[in-house]
Each structure stands twice: as C-alpha cells, then as structure tokens.
C-alpha cells in the first residue's frame, strides 16, 4: 500500500536517493543531505504548528510504500511563496510601440521582475520514482495536497501557485537561462540551480538584473520557450489543468517555465471532496477508486482506495484502509473521485 504522509527524519536517506535520481531538475528539492534535513525539520515543525515556522511554513509530504518503508515520491507545499523572503518571477506583459505618422504599431513583449506572488501558497518539490509516473499514484501524490489544503483552508493562502519546469534542450541546457541569466552569472543553469538549492532562490534572484527585459532581444530559442513547460512536466500540467489551474502571466526567472495559478475554491478536488464519518468493517467488496484522506493535520494520511459511497453521512471502510489512514470508527475521512 502506498501512503502519502508528512515526512520524517527517517525518510532522509530515501528522499536523498530520490532527489539525486531526479538530477538537477527540482530546485526546491535540494540534493544535499543537510539541506534536505533542514527541509524535513521545517516540515516537521510546520505540521506541528510550531511558532518558529509561523508565516513560513513548509510542508513536505512523502509517498511511502508501507510494506518496505521506501519513499517513492515527494510533494511539498510552502505556505507562503518565498518563505519569508521575496519570491521572484518575471511577469509577461506587453508594450505597444506605436506611431501614427510612421504607420507602425508593434506589440513588444516585456518581462518585468516582480514579487507579487510572494506569500501565495506554493506547490513545490514534486518528485516521483519513474516507475510510478504513469500510475494512479502520481495523481495520489500530486492531489493529496489539494485534499490537505481543502480540509485546512485557514492554514494556507487562498491563491495557489505552481511553478512548472521550463524547456531544456537535448544537452540539458536551458535556452532561456543561456540567453538571460547567464549573461549576468557566467555559469550554466545546473550550477546556478545548485547554488539556488544550497543558498536560496531569492539569493540568486537578487543578483539578477532588475530592469525589464525586452523579449525580442533574447535569442530566438529563448523567445520560443518563454512560458512553455518542459515535456517532463506535461503529465502534471494536464492534471493541474483538469483541476482548474490556469497559466498565469508569471514565468520563472531562471528557466522561463510557466506558473500555474488557481483560487483554492475553484479547484475541482476541493469543490467535489466529501467528508463522512466511518464505519469500519471486517472487509468491504467492490466500490470505486477514490483519493481518501483522514481528517488530521499533523498526522495527515492520504491513499488511493475503493469506497462504495451511498446516501447518508456514514461510509463503510475496511480495516486495512482504517489502519493505513490511522482512523477509528466514527472518525471522519475525506474523499474525492480519482
């Protein structure tokens, strides 16, 4: 059984393996053990509602094989994008350079550096063992976060954002970075990303040029990838679009990848999820696959399981499910169609 739950220190080695396996692609999931350890610590304190984390809570969920204890995926939520520091993006905008006398009317795309997404709730650190990428468990991992924020809206911002990885070329280079950031850093994307991981993204962003960038002055390769997602992120993008996320005007300042945005109340999972109290049975038969979670914040559990939903406020679950979710009879579970 695969269970999504808050990360703990015992997951460290397992997450580290996953992070390294995913190479440099997830900048919010650091590859260094001490940084990972800090992240788990921050998550543990955030789930415990420790005062030290107030306003910069960072939650890290893991998807664990409950039989082997192996971590097969991670999914993070930062309560406030930037975690107390400015959160940088470029906002895509357009200027019209126009002259009646010269019969010219040109629309010029411009990138403005902004902090306006600072403080919104950020979904981050999504990684999954490639064997599970094309299974229901991908959805479990990604959507478990929607159940969590749907259940505990007061603990999150009402606007949710996700940064989608930008386009890289066959050699692992990032055309957007090569045409923009690289001029100011003299280092390749992977190196900048590495520093981003061990320092902070804000730290790097503050070294970036602050004036608006005229897109027509970037290389043609860079211009074509502005706001476009990496092929690897396509599956996740589709899922998020189905959920109600929309491509906003913001892009990543490093790789030019898009930012998806949604209001929490507009998310399909949040709109459709139901909570019912449980009746635990020896066993249940049949039913339909659901995403199911318990009602606990600090001991959040989310799984894929079968339920037979009927009329009424009570739902029958079997003992295995009750154990996986750590719920007893009469406690509430929340579920949404898979």
């Amino acid at each position: 059984m695969l269970i999504v739950r808050p990360s703990t220190f015992s997951d460290l080695a397992s997450i580290e393996k996953l992070a390294n396996h995913n190479s440099a692609k997830i900048s919010t999931l650091p590859q260094q053990r001490d940084k990972l350890s800090e992240k788990i610590d921050a998550s543990t304190r955030s789930f415990a509602a420790d005062e030290s984390m107030e306003g910069k809570e960072q939650f890290l969920l893991v998807m664990e094989n409950s039989e082997t204890g192996e971590v097969l995926g991670t999914a993070g939520i930062d309560r406030c994008a930037g975690n107390g520091q400015p959160f940088y993006n470029y906002r895509q905008d357009e200027l019209i350079h126009s002259s009646h006398q010269l019969h010219v009317n040109n629309h010029i795309p411009v990138l403005y550096m902004t902090h306006e997404l600072t403080g919104k709730t950020l979904f981050c650190s999504l990684s999954i063992d490639s064997k599970y990428r094309n299974t229901d468990y991908f959805e479990l991992l990604s959507r478990s976060r929607l159940l969590l924020i749907g259940l505990f809206k007061e603990r999150f911002d009402e606007d949710i954002i996700i940064e989608i990885q930008g386009v890289s070329d066959e050699d692992g280079g990032y055309p957007f970075w090569d045409s923009l950031g690289r001029h100011f850093f003299d280092m390749d994307f992977a190196t900048a990303d590495y520093y981003s991981g061990i320092k902070s993204k804000t730290f790097i962003a503050e070294l970036m040029p602050s004036h608006p960038i005229y897109v027509p002055l970037l290389s043609e390769e860079a211009q074509t990838v502005v706001g476009r997602p990496n092929a690897l992120a396509e599956k996740n993008c589709q899922l998020l679009h189905r959920e109600g996320f929309r491509v906003g005007k913001h892009i990543d300042i490093f790789d030019g990848g898009p930012t998806l945005e949604a209001h929490v109340n507009h998310l399909n999972t949040v709109k459709s999820m139901q909570s019912k109290s449980t009746k635990v049975s020896e066993s249940t038969r049949g039913g339909v696959k659901y995403l199911i979670c318990n009602g606990s914040f600090s001991d959040f559990r989310c799984v894929v399981g079968q339920l037979t939903d009927g009329i009424g406020d009570v739902i029958r679950i079997n003992q295995t499910l009750a154990k996986d979710l750590n719920v007893s009879e009469n406690e509430c579970i929340t579920f949404a169609a898979l």
Binding site: S99, L102, H183, D186, L207, P216
Partner: protein, 347 residues
C-alpha cells in the same frame, strides 16, 4: 580663394547638389529639397535676427570664390532638444556581485536619456570630395569654433558632435539590426532618412524606453557601440585633438558616439586671440614656407566670414591681409579680427 560665410537663399541649388552626394549617415543633410529649403530659411533667420537659442540653427558654407560654387557646409545648433525631444543612449555599468558565489559581473547597460538637451551641437559637416585637400576640411569644421569664441552668449557652455556610427559597405548598421529594427520593421536607411527630415522624435518614441543590457545585442552590435564610420575617423580625431571627449553618449540608431567639450576648453576657442587687420597691397604669398596656417574671422555676426591666412602674416598684434582677402572678409585696415592657428602649435 576659400571662404566660410553664412548660407543664403542663393545657395539652394548647390546645397541640393551636395546633399545628393552625402550618402547614408549624414542625417542632418538629407536629400530632400523641401527640407533643405527650410534649413536655409532657418539659418538666414538665425543670422539676421539673433533668434532665441532654442530655435537658432546656424549653417555655414564653404565657397570657392573663383568658381563661386559652394563646396561644403557645416552647422551649429545653438541648443538641441528644446523643440523636439533629443535622445541618446548613455552607456552605464551594472554590477552583479556575490562574494560567496565568486560572481562579479559588470554589464554595460544602455540608458535612454535626454541628457544633451540644451547643449550646442556642431553638425551637418559635409565637404565635396574634390575639395578634400589643402586644409579645406579643417577650415570648414573649425570655423565654427571661432564663431563660438566670438559669440559665446548665443550658445550653451557645452557643445557636442554626433559622429556617424559604424555601418558596412551595404549601409547596414549592426547596432540598428540588433536593437532598433527589433522594435519596428524598418531599414536603417529609412530610419536615418526620417531622422533627417525631422522624424527623429517619432522614431525615438518607438524605441525601447527601459535600459538595455548590452549582452542582449548581437556580438557585432556590441563591437560597434561608440565606434564611428571609417569615413568619420579623421573628423573624430580632429575633434578629439581640439578637446572633445567621448563620455558614453551614443546615437540611439547606429550607436555612433556623441563627443563633447566645454566651449572654453576647445583649443581653437581657448587659444584664439584678437588682433588688428592691416590690409596690404601685393602681399607675398608665403604659404609655401611651411608656415602654420591661421583661421581668421571678421567677428561680424550676420556677415560672418572666416578664411585661412599664413602664420607669416601675423605679427605682434596685427595680421597682414591681402586686398582680395580683405574684400572677401569684408574688413578694412584697423578692424579687429579673431585668429587661431589651424592646428595646435607644438611649443
């Protein structure tokens, strides 16, 4: 005999002829008869009435008195940018640095400015190719400095010259290709022409207003920032010898430099001096003796004249002027003239 004098309406035909031969890049002398007509009218007015510096656009011609033809022109705008907006890019530096990351990058950055607004501009210099000899070019160009020295109250303290920027044999400007062209579809020659006919402000309004990080431009464009067209190299060298400096202002279209000087720091202004003219019959032409040449002006605003004389004509506080030259300069014995050596005299 070669003489500098204010332009007048009779010069129209010759001026049109000259304008046909300028080629791209001399934006202030466009091949457009209507516009040239206007330029002549404005200049005549400026010389006649001592108009407000914000409108004063002086234009001088170099006349070959033997053929009665004008073979060169030059101009001074008393103050630029007070009617239309005057734009330049200023090359500035942006530093991105982090000791921790070992990063220290200096990025040249172009800022769109109106910083030269109100300054005087020496402009519109053009000399017929057949006359590019016998110091005619220097006479034409430097005659303006005597005008500045004679009438400083009519000009700004600072004067600049916009030098034609680099372009290749086909007239393509790499700077334009990398920057201006991206913002509106127009060939450089067309933009250049529009600038000359008074459309510069229109075009500038289409140009990017935010600073431009130079590395975003093509390598070719980066290389030519602040460079002059090879035909303009001698003019630049001459102005720099007179005390003009490049302080980072460039043309927004072709990236050519605008070089500046304070009027009282220009050598030809600083070293110029007044002396009495002495009209002499049968003055011996001693030009052959390798004597340094001197510019001499008659100090008359509306009937301004400048010519070259041999250094051998200059004594303590007088200058010997031949009868023919005195006629051209419109002076008589005893008149006070201004003189300065054409080139810096090495002491």
């Amino acid at each position: 005999m070669m003489i500098i004098r204010p332009i007048n309406a009779n010069d129209f035909t010759d001026l049109c002829h000259l304008a046909k031969n300028t080629g791209f890049g001399v934006t202030s002398l466009p091949d457009n008869p209507d516009l040239l007509q206007t330029k002549i009218e404005k200049a005549e007015k400026a010389f006649a009435e001592k108009v407000d510096p914000s409108h004063a656009k002086y234009m001088f011609v170099l006349e070959d008195t033997n053929s009665k033809k004008i073979v060169g022109v030059c101009g001074i705008e008393a103050q630029v940018g007070l009617e239309e907006v005057w734009y330049n890019y200023r090359i500035s530096t942006t530093v991105n640095a982090s000791i921790e990351l070992g990063v220290h990058n200096q990025t040249p950055t172009l800022y769109l400015t109106n910083d030269l607004t109100g300054c005087s501009e020496v402009c519109s210099l053009f000399l017929d190719a057949c006359y590019r000899k016998n110091s005619n070019g220097l006479l034409l160009s430097k005659s303006r400095f005597l005008f500045l020295a004679d009438f400083p109250e009519m000009f700004s303290e600072k004067v600049f010259a916009e030098m034609r920027g680099y372009s290749d044999e086909q007239g393509h400007s790499p700077f334009w290709e990398a920057l201006g062209k991206k913002f509106f579809t127009m060939e450089f020659s067309r933009a250049d022409y529009l600038t000359g006919v008074g459309g510069k402000a229109f075009i500038a309004e289409l140009m990017p207003k935010y600073p431009i990080y130079l590395p975003f431009l093509s390598k070719e464009a980066q290389k030519v920032v602040g460079l002059v067209h090879e035909n303009t190299e001698p003019a630049r060298a001459m102005l720099e010898a007179e005390g003009f400096n490049f302080n980072g202002f460039i043309d927004i279209f072709d990236g050519g430099p605008a070089i500046e000087a304070f009027v009282n720091n220009i050598r030809a202004v600083r070293e110029s001096f007044k002396l009495h003219a002495q009209v002499v019959k049968n003055l011996k032409d001693t030009n052959g003796n390798n004597q340094p040449l001197y510019l001499v002006s008659n100090r008359a605003f509306s009937n301004y004249r400048v010519a070259l004389v041999s250094g051998s004509s200059i004594c303590q506080d007088t200058v010997d002027i031949s009868v023919e030259l005195a006629e051209q300069l419109q002076i008589r014995s005893g008149d006070i003239v201004r003189a300065v050596s054409l080139r810096e005299v090495k002491r």
